[in-house]
Amino acid sequence: MIVIIDYKAGNLTSVARAVSHLGFRCEISQHIGKIALADRIIIPGVGAAGSAMSNLRMLGLDKAIRQAYAEGIPILGICLGSQIIMEVSEENQAGCLGLIPGFVQRFPNPLNTSEGDRLKVPHMGWNRIIRCRSHPILEGIDPKSEFYFVHAYFPKPEFQDSVIAITDYGISFPSAVGLKNLIAFQFHPEKSGRPGLKLLENFCTWDGGYAE
């Protein structure tokens, strides 16, 4: 069973609908027992890092996620879920799960294109990802595919080998990060049409193994 972690961070039904549409069984849950038995785990979420982390801790889910990660269970972070897996976030100076060394930073202000045009923050809409290394999760994805983003912060891993893909928006920022059995997207695969569904399908069949 795929468990989508409910820690009161936004609407989780869209992730569940996409996974069900692909024919995989999933359950939205906030129970430690369910998470301990999960075959794979999805950490979704929109909102602020500070309140997300305090909800996770209050529910005891931070420990459950660390445990699952240590056991090699495939884990997918989405949007805020790709940020709270880092060590610390600039947003609310929140201490996070620390599964990947590094921090979470905000887009610089002002943010400009190379031609000097002012860019809006949050970064909202469709953009490409440029892969930095091969990963089973990116198999079958056309490099010209675009994904739907809505965010003002992004993960910044300490080590380059945790950066799976980057995206250009005034600056280049990590849009897919991963380490061992953990993969995370700053964009929303569940709202990114067919290529997004393909990524979710890849995750739902991934064994958590990853060798460069």
Partner: protein, 259 residues
């Protein structure tokens, strides 16, 4: 770099779309779920639904439509029309919409925007504004006035001042509809779109007047908007989303071309 978005807009009354699409195959053109699926597969970047159901009792029909759309398409979509309270917003978002759009109700009670942004995040809150060209005056220095009730009621509110206020209140996006251009298919109101887009820090969706891909090109470049709403020009089969995007791409506008 971010792509410019092309967004079909569907008017829904009591669970049925008011304008069908001219399909080649026999799809139920009155069904908003089928229309959403059609545009999703045709490469729309987002879809907007306006619920124009007049009777309050029949509004729950829309929630069922939203739920079925959310099971069918996997791109963002927004729902507007008749949203007056945070509870109205919650119902639509829980049914699976990515965003809600508020218009007249926010003019009557601007706190609705900040309440919605606080409860669900700014990215969920689209502020729809209907605008009419008027002569410039002390009260309306931009020469564009906010109107409500489908353009029948003038509010005395300057469109530029309102756009800046809704941004401060926490709106995540503005859908800017020119009542003068709406339905003409003669092009978007470029001056209005440029004025608002340049003066706010949130994305602006141009609405009203699209008839050709060139109109869309103009509003995304000269009008400086982030997205363009389209209705009749795609519903009646005059152009496909793909034709619009390939036109824009050939003229150097970045659009999402693989889906």
């Amino acid at each position: 770099m971010l792509s410019k978005r092309i967004i079909p807009c569907l008017d829904v009354r009591e669970g049925k779309t008011t304008k069908g699409i001219k399909f080649k195959n026999n799809v139920d053109v009155g069904d908003p779920v089928e229309m959403a699926r059609f545009y999703y597969e045709a490469g729309a970047d987002e879809i907007v639904f306006y619920d124009i159901t007049a009777s309050y009792e029949k509004r729950n029909i829309m929630i069922d439509v939203v739920r079925r759309v959310a099971e069918t398409i996997f791109i963002p979509f927004s729902v507007g029309g008749g949203i007056r309270t945070v509870e109205d917003m919650r119902a639509v978002l829980l049914a699976g919409a990515e965003k809600v759009s508020v218009n007249s109700a926010a003019v009557r009670r601007p706190a609705l925007i900040s309440e919605g942004a606080k409860a669900f995040g700014s990215q969920c809150i689209v502020l729809g504004m209907d605008v009419k060209r008027v002569s410039k005056s002390k009260k309306i220095p931009s020469g564009y006035e906010i109107v409500i009730n489908g353009g029948r009621t003038y509010t005395g509110i300057d469109a530029l001042a309102w756009a800046q206020e809704v941004e401060d209140l926490g709106a995540g996006e503005i859908c800017l509809n020119s009542i003068d251009a709406d339905g003409t298919q003669e092009g978007y109101e470029l001056a209005l779109n440029a004025l608002i887009s340049e003066r706010v820090g949130i994305p602006v969706i141009a609405s009203g007047g699209a008839g050709t891909p060139e109109h869309i090109y103009e509003v995304l470049t000269k009008g400086r908007t982030d997205a363009a709403l389209v209705a009749s020009m795609v519903h009646y089969g005059t152009y496909t989303i793909e034709e619009i995007k390939s036109y824009l791409s050939n003229r150097g506008v970045k659009v999402r071309s693989v889906w």
